[in-house]
Subunit: 628 residues, 2 copies
């Protein structure tokens, strides 16, 4: 690691980068869960996203005063609501309301055990959701049958569920007789929606779980939810095992088209991924797989088709047709998820072949259809989904950004993994380049947020002009002689060396890399500009930009504005929305109403097709330049 990279602390671990785009580390006690989040995220959100349950009934607005935590190490200033919740002594001890405690540096946070059984949970982008999961349990103490009362076993159970209209699964007919008699007719009925899926001996009402999956093309995240409290019980993520078939959806569709056996293999790879994550979250939380009665899955249309074993070919060739926008009445087993044998599955519906269930989940999680403010939701990826609108009207489109943000097509590009440069600061006066690197590793490459940061900093310092050309040597020397030395020729093209001269493997940004980024941001900017036009609004009318996905979480708002990726607003209006796809899946599990809301979005959102617009290419070329 060179002097140019992240400063190292006495314990040998990198100190937090000095700039606001670096990540901060939070350690939660007594669970021991450690997380790394963008600075400014609240302790409550950081906990919630990572499976640490904190009491709350108000949805993180500082009003319920239930989300009390103690900052055991690190600094969190006292917020204006804290003095109403804590006396001076407790404030001195570090007690804070988690929903108002912004993590701007590393913290150790003590989380008290849950004191209330919540009736609501905070999910998505600060959304407060009344808990109405489709999974319900009822403890029943039934009269034993007699010659005078020969009511059949399952009818006896169904009659006792007098507040629910249910249809029993065959599984229940097979089990009921033995379970009722082994448990002296004291049993718990397990209901999912209108299906009676099981009858369990004794009172098991306290235990009911669901798993929300974000089935990404690259990364898959599973959140085990306690459906009784709405609290996450465990979170796990891993790379999608479909990776060997290509990094993006098009290469996976091609794989399925070229080899008839590949469809089954792609399906199995998706299922293996989901199954491994299932095993992991259940093991971590000490939950039996049979206690998971429902799953929800958000993914793009290709991922959903492949996981269900549906041939994705019509998605991949014009006119880009899905098998269906929504899939009713699925079992978890239909997705290969090894939980309760009759567990149901909710697949978040898709708007179009390239505006999938992931972005519908995101729009749901962000409450796009409820907020009166004009907001823009951007999920940056190889295929970038964009939603613009408010409670009155919603528009959506998909922009072909290409894989630059995933690190592909970039000379030193890599994923956001240990060794990836994720923040870049250039100080022309000192002639220095400060790098933020993921993990305790030497810089090995450049991930998406680092790429945006690097280009934004080069542009800010004048080392890159508005057209996207690196400064010539004379101009560079006028800016900073030390930095001018970093403008070199690598493999026959101009490049800026991000690592210092003594790095074993130099990490650099080439002229062509910058062009790739220009194409990507040009496509995205064309997308939201055309949506703005369709809506009849201008850039300054936008009240909030939500950047979704892990890339969005780590992107510097200032840099995103500087390269023109997002509208030119005050940086505080550019908000990381986190894993909104996963949050939407959680919403679907926690609230049958929200689930219906996802289906309603299919009717409420108007899809704007970019590719058949005659002016698209002109507009796209016009967006390639950086803001002046």
């Amino acid at each position: 690691m060179t002097a140019d990279s992240v400063p190292v602390r006495e314990d040998g671990r990198p100190a937090p980068p000095p700039e606001p785009t670096a990540r901060v580390r939070l350690r939660f006690e007594p669970s021991g869960v450690q997380v790394s989040v963008p600075p400014g995220v609240t302790v409550f959100e950081a906990a919630s996203w990572n499976g640490v349950a904190i009491d709350s009934t108000c949805g993180g607005h500082g009003t319920c005063r239930k989300c009390k935590v103690r900052i055991a190490a690190g600094e969190v200033p006292v917020s204006r609501h804290d003095p109403r919740a804590f006396d001076a002594e407790r404030l001195r001890q570090g007690w804070r309301l988690a929903c108002l405690a912004q993590a701007t540096g590393d913290l150790t946070v003590e989380v008290p055990p849950l004191t209330t059984r919540p009736k609501a949970a905070t999910v998505g982008v600060g959304r407060q959701v009344i808990l109405r999961p489709a999974v319900q349990k009822r403890y029943l103490e039934l009269a034993e049958p007699s010659l005078a009362d020969q009511t059949p076993d399952v009818e006896r159970i169904v009659r006792a569920l007098d507040d629910l209209e249910v249809i029993p699964d065959l599984h229940v007919y097979r089990r009921a007789g033995r379970v009722l008699r082994a448990a002296d007719f004291k049993v718990t009925a397990v209901v999912v929606g209108t299906a009676l899926i099981d009858v369990e001996p004794g009172d098991t009402t306290a235990r009911r779980y669901g798993i929300a999956f974000d089935l990404g093309t690259t990364t898959v995240v599973a959140t085990l939810l306690d459906l009784a409290t709405g609290a996450p019980a465990a979170v796990a993520s891993m790379l999608n095992l479909q990776q060997p078939y290509g990094a993006d959806v098009i290469s996976r569709i091609s794989a399925a088209m070229l080899d008839p056996a590949a469809l089954d293999r792609l399906r199995d790879a998706a299922r293996d991924t989901l199954a491994r994550l299932t095993g992991e979250v259940c093991a971590r939380a000490g939950v039996a797989r049979e206690e998971v009665y429902e799953i929800a899955l958000a993914g793009n249309a290709t991922m959903v088709h492949l996981a269900l074993g549906i041939d994705p070919e019509p998605l991949g060739v014009a006119p880009f047709v899905m098998a269906a926008r929504s899939f009713p009445e699925l079992l978890a087993g239909d997705l290969g998820v090894p939980v309760h044998p009759r567990a149901r599955a909710v697949v978040l519906p898709a708007l179009g072949a390239y505006v999938g269930g992931d972005i519908v989940a995101g729009a749901l999680a962000a409450g796009m259809d409820r907020d009166r403010r004009l907001r823009l939701l951007i999920d940056v990826g190889t295929n970038c989904e964009i939603v613009l609108g408010d409670a009155d009207r919603l528009l959506a489109t998909a922009a072909p950004a290409g894989p630059a943000f995933e690190g592909a097509q970039i000379r030193c590009g890599m994923r956001a993994a240990p060794g990836a440069i994720e923040t870049v600061r250039i100080d022309p006066a000192a002639g220095r380049v400060a790098l933020g690197v993921i993990g305790d590793a030497a810089p090995a490459g450049l991930c998406g947020s680092g790429l945006v940061d690097a280009v934004a900093e080069l542009r800010r310092t004048g080392l890159l002009d508005a057209s996207g050309r690196l400064a010539d040597p004379d101009a560079a020397r006028r800016i900073s002689p030390a930095l001018a030395e970093r403008l070199a020729t690598v493999d026959g093209e101009r490049a800026f060396l991000l690592t210092g001269p003594d790095a074993a493997e130099p990490v650099y940004l080439s002229q062509r890399d910058i062009r790739e980024l220009q194409f990507a941001k040009g496509a995205i900017a064309t997308g939201w500009r055309l949506l703005l036009e369709e809506y009849g609004a201008a850039e300054p009318d936008i009240r909030q930009v939500l950047l979704a996905g892990s890339f969005g979480s780590y992107l510097s708002p200032a840099s995103a504005i500087r390269i023109g990726l997002v509208p030119r607003l005050a940086p505080t209006r550019i908000v990381s929305a986190g894993n909104v796809a996963g949050e939407g899946a959680k919403l679907a599990l926690l609230s049958a109403q929200e689930r219906a809301g996802a289906l309603a979005l299919l009717e409420e959102v108007r899809y704007v097709e970019l590719s058949d617009r005659p002016d698209f290419n002109d507009r796209f070329v016009g967006e390639l330049a950086f803001p002046g």
Copy 2:
């Protein structure tokens, strides 16, 4: 074969027995189907029960005049309606209306091809049913998708089914894309109830089939139905492969209780039986298994529980509790029936642990809930089910008849298989015993109808007194010296030799056999007498007695009256109803309304429990004697 057995024709095959209880043989051309039925059955019924389709729209009442057949060999008198349907020349050629043509002797019948696509079919006990099967097909010529019309594949199909509300199976999502494109978007949608179960290339609307199963404890019958016409396409039957686990339901329940693995084996044996019959009827009719989209199954509660893999133990021990009376939303695969992978299954509902779906199917087929006449339906078997009533009120009970009618517990008892004596006539004047034997075989034993016939004849001739005791030698000699010689002592008890002295293996009826029959008929008579009391009616009020099941088909009404098994009515009021369980299953396939009617019967029929009546034993003992 002795001189006492069935006369032999020149071709070496037994000639039809001279008495009205013998069976007659019908051969249908051009199908070549050969059947054996009780005399007096109409040609139409004999054809219908055995998978030979004959035009009809009136339900066999002689009014539609569509059921024209030609009697090519054998005699059928001209009925009063025939001259309205045929001119003299055609009558001379043998043309008759099949629904009025009673088969009283062997016949060869030429059946013209179906001329109309029927809107109704005759099923059950002469019931005319409007064809409204749950299985429907729609041929669709769909617009191909374009960039201007990206409607997803399955939504495109569902929208075109504008007269139906359907939910597609996952199977359809998986297949639709390929089928639509391979067939140029000209496809046939396959709907069962509210489920869209498949999409097939091209126009396949002419082909839709269902299988009706009568899952008996002893015999299982499968009827492949053409759901477009209501006509049976093929019928097959075989012994239930569960036989090795015991002849009756109690021994099979015991087997499942004694060995935990037996439940699975019993389930598999039932499924193997159903699967073999499925293969057989499909092969015979040239129908692909995938063209069978729904099955219906009628069976007693134990058979249904075992076939579904439900532990039957609670059925076998007091208080005799079922898992459920009805099983909604089953797949054919849940019963191991290898037809279309998403074919649905209807299991006829049961009234009680011993008044199962077979008798509910029977009551449906007999139209018990629609007929204004007071009627009695008796399904004679080890467990005898009895339904009494009319359109206003229905009562049902189960009588523990024991296995005598199945040939068990009877010294020379056997099933109604080749070699079984099924009719007996005793001529005291000639000193002769005439036997009707099933198949081209020497008499090997006595089946249920032969047992009833033998006892009735002994009673008629005075060789048996009203208390059920065989005549002493002196009394017998006064009746017939030749017959007195047949009263012998076998294995230390008195017996009547049915076969002559030169039979290699004598077939006889012992005093204890007669007692067994008395117990069986006593239980049944107690049952219908108590129902009559509950209903507030007397024996002469009964307008019709329907004897169900194969045993009922071959029983002589006169003999049944003589031993007191059925009420003392004119023999013409005692009617063989055929395999009403199987007919009920057919009704369920052909008409969704009739299927709902079966469920309605659960509410309409009042079950009268015999076993907890304090006067049952007294009444039973009072019924043991034969009518004076």
